[in-house]
């Protein structure tokens, strides 16, 4: 609850993406994947980044974590994590940022776990790779466990010694390898329990192939949380899962939101998932953010013609109505349309649309839209 109330009081930005342009160099030419993305993630919120395939959701996420493929080039822009420009970091600094500040969880959990190392080792690797950072946490997990064991019992000399030792460890003090290993396991188990994996001690020893899709996704989320990130990017994390398992994971995310001190960017193509879970949402189309608003506002009062079309095109599980579709299909970003990239499909397009790229403007408090119909 403490986290929640703080989030409500200080809604400052954790992440600001400013005018981000990314090109992919291919044999066929330059694919202009991101065309000036503007995005702000506030502290403690879950932001939904929603759009159809190829709109640049994942490229945005990969740019933030610095994992763009070799043929991608950041043409311009800034990605500010608490004011620090991630695009200016060296490789090593970026690696450390990924270890401790930003974490990403991908769609297909089978691909992102190491198949020949057990789950426990994969988590403890994270917990021990930056020792100074995690020493505090390791020790506090150890102390918690110690207190649990000794509760109400008279202390034997051995236990007393262990307690003294644990209390004496400071962030900079040296620890024996065995001790680190034991404490890291304790801490890893607590993360596995946090993501509600049944029988955490057994899962700790299991290999990825022994887990079901839902359990693997939980294990990956545990690994992401183990880094105590300020920002968690979740890229289509429920897309590969069945509905009942998707419901389990969404429920888990809801519960975690109260527990962890991180902002979450939930990337998805599914507006229903956004409606269910997010505080705010940003709609992307062909490399641009076209609309940003609080989720309730966005669904009740969509402004951009694309958002309107998208909302009318989704089949609803709670009622049966004629679906309206958006004519045409997503443009080829090798040759993106001029001006507003949505104008060839837009039922409201007028003479200026092919000429002017609309900026993202705030039309009412917190509701931004990039469309010439609303000025700009």
């Amino acid at each position: 609850m403490a986290v929640m109330s703080r989030a409500l009081v200080t809604k400052d930005a954790v992440l600001e993406v400013k005018d981000l342009r990314v090109d992919f160099h291919t044999y066929a030419g330059d694919v202009k994947a991101l065309n000036g993305v503007e995005l702000t993630v506030k502290r403690g919120e879950i932001l939904g980044l929603v759009g159809e395939s190829g709109c640049g959701k994942s490229v945005t996420a990969l740019s933030i974590v610095g994992l763009l493929p070799q043929n991608a080039e950041v043409v311009s822009g800034e990605i500010l994590l608490e004011g620090r420009d991630l695009l200016r970091l060296t490789k090593e600094e970026m690696r450390l940022a990924r270890l401790g500040e930003i974490a990403i969880v991908f769609q297909d959990p089978a691909t992102y776990l190491n198949p020949v190392i057990n789950i426990g080792a994969q988590i403890t690797e994270i917990l021990t790779s930056d020792r100074r950072r995690f020493q505090v946490e390791l020790v506090s997990a150890g102390l918690k466990d110690f207190e649990g064991r000794v509760q109400g019992k008279p202390l034997s000399p051995a236990l007393e010694k262990e307690g003294r030792r644990l209390r004496s460890i400071t962030p900079s003090s040296r620890m024996r390898r065995g001790e680190v290993k034991r404490l890291a396991k304790l801490l890893a188990l607590s993360y596995l329990r946090m993501v509600k994996l049944p029988d955490a001690a057994r899962v700790f020893k299991m290999y990825p192939f022994e887990l079901s899709g839902g359990m693997r996704q939980r294990a990956i989320i545990a690994m992401a949380l183990a880094r105590r990130p300020k920002l968690l990017l979740a890229d289509e994390i429920t897309t590969a899962l069945d509905v009942t398992v998707q419901a389990q994971i969404l429920r888990l995310l809801k519960e975690l939101k109260e527990k962890i001190d991180a902002s979450v960017v939930l990337i998805t193509h599914d507006l229903a998932v956004v409606a269910e879970l997010c505080d705010r949402a940003a709609v992307m189309y062909a490399g641009n953010i076209v609309e940003v608003a609080e989720v309730k506002e966005l669904f009740a009062n969509p402004l951009h013609p694309y958002t309107k079309g998208l909302l009318e095109a989704i089949p609803r599980p709670d009622s049966r109505s004629e679906l309206k579709s958006i004519a045409g299909s997503v443009p080829d970003l090798l040759f993106p349309p001029t001006g507003c990239r949505f104008h060839p499909r837009c039922p409201f397009a007028f003479d200026r649309c092919p000429k002017v790229a609309p900026p993202l403007v705030e039309v009412s408090p917190g509701h931004l839209v990039a469309c010439l119909l609303y000025g700009g």
């Binding site: 359990m215 009942t244 009740a300 989704i314 599980p317 709670d318 049966r320 004629e322 679906l323």
Partner: protein
């Protein structure tokens, strides 16, 4: 379920088991029971939705019905005659009347074949046309029916988007002028805005040609849009079949009710606690004894772990496969076990 008048397709106690070979000698060491006793019927002109999670046997069911694979046991009755063991020329004639659209239009179209030859090839195989001109006219006609234009006929699949490809796949299925179409996840690989286009196209084609659909999907929202009746499948069996509105408004089987309430609703003002079933679907190689849903059912009793429930009609054309006929969400397992609501338990048929 018996065949009735007005049924185009009736499936009775259909089984498809795949043997699992193992050991040095390649002996059969087990059976994967993909479809394990399915009975259903599809009326002329209706859409029967089949919904279930991955691995529940939806696609195997479709393939078995179309006789693309041979059933292990059971009967398939199409338009009044038993077609289970048809082969050769008779099977070919049947194929003209039953066609399929697959999930992935990137895989189901030959990349080295133009759209025209993709369509005219089918006409040739079935001997539907006598001259080249006739086949080309038919192809032009069809491509317009699915919302593309004749210029597209000379192109190759890679020149089309996913939605357009799926239109081509639909056109190919319509070449033989079938009565019955199996749509196996036809929109799952498409984006929402395009998905709506394809769903609307399928609806209008159904009206125009009087088609009967078996619509397979894992997406409950899609099923609700398109189907008149819905069958819910779990581990190779139908657990509930009813009119679509009934399935969503008063689901009777605990699996259906869990499935329906697990779907997020695209309306932030109506956030509810998503009902999450515990655990995962058991493997179809080791199907639990008794009711196959008992390992995940929050209401499972001793009886459920022992006896397989029969498929019974609890209201006109509303079938469920469950020992109990009660309003599950408001009940607790302990009530069932204590026999407080024993009135809900049915006598075995």
């Amino acid at each position: 379920m018996k065949g009735r008048d007005g049924d185009l397709l009736t499936v009775q106690d259909l089984h498809k088991w795949f043997p699992i070979k193992g050991g040095l000698l390649g002996k059969t060491v087990g059976q994967l029971r993909a479809v394990d006793g399915v009975s259903l019927s599809v009326m002329k002109g209706e859409t029967l939705g089949v919904v279930g999670e991955s691995g529940c046997g939806k696609t195997t069911l479709a393939k078995t019905i179309l006789k693309l694979i041979k059933p292990t046991k059971g009967k398939i009755i199409f338009d009044g005659s038993d077609v289970t063991d048809l082969s050769g020329r008779k099977a070919m004639r049947l194929r003209r009347r039953m066609q399929i659209v697959f999930q992935d239009p990137y895989a189901s179209l030959d990349p080295r074949q133009t759209v025209r030859s993709c369509l005219t090839e089918v006409m040739g195989v079935h001997g539907l046309v006598t001259s080249r001109r006739e086949s080309e006219e038919a192809a032009e006609n069809l491509i317009e029916k699915v919302g593309l234009n004749p210029d597209h006929l000379l192109r190759f699949p890679h020149e089309f988007s996913g939605g357009q490809r799926q239109r081509i796949a639909v056109a190919r299925a319509l070449v033989t002028n079938p009565d019955f179409l199996v749509l196996d996840e036809p929109t799952s690989s498409l984006d929402v805005s395009v998905q709506a286009q394809i769903l609307n196209l399928l609806k209008s084609l159904q009206r125009e040609f009087g088609l009967t659909y078996l619509f397979i999907s894992h997406n409950l929202a899609v099923i609700r849009q398109v189907s008149h009746r819905t069958a819910v499948m779990y581990l190779g069996r139908m657990v509930e079949i009813a009119e679509t509105e009934k399935i969503y408004s008063e689901p009777k089987h605990p699996y259906t009710s869990a499935l329906v309430s697990a779907v997020p609703i695209p309306d932030p003002s109506r956030r509810t606690e998503l009902a999450a079933l515990e655990g995962d679907v058991p493997s179809p190689v080791n199907i639990p004894p008794g009711c196959r849903f008992n390992t995940r059912c929050p209401y499972a009793t001793e009886k459920c772990r022992r006896e397989t429930p029969p498929l019974v009609e609890i209201a006109p054309s509303h079938w469920i496969e469950c020992h109990y006929d009660i309003d599950f969400p408001s009940m607790k397992r302990s009530d069932l076990e204590r026999g407080l609501i024993s009135g809900g338990e049915r006598a075995p048929e």
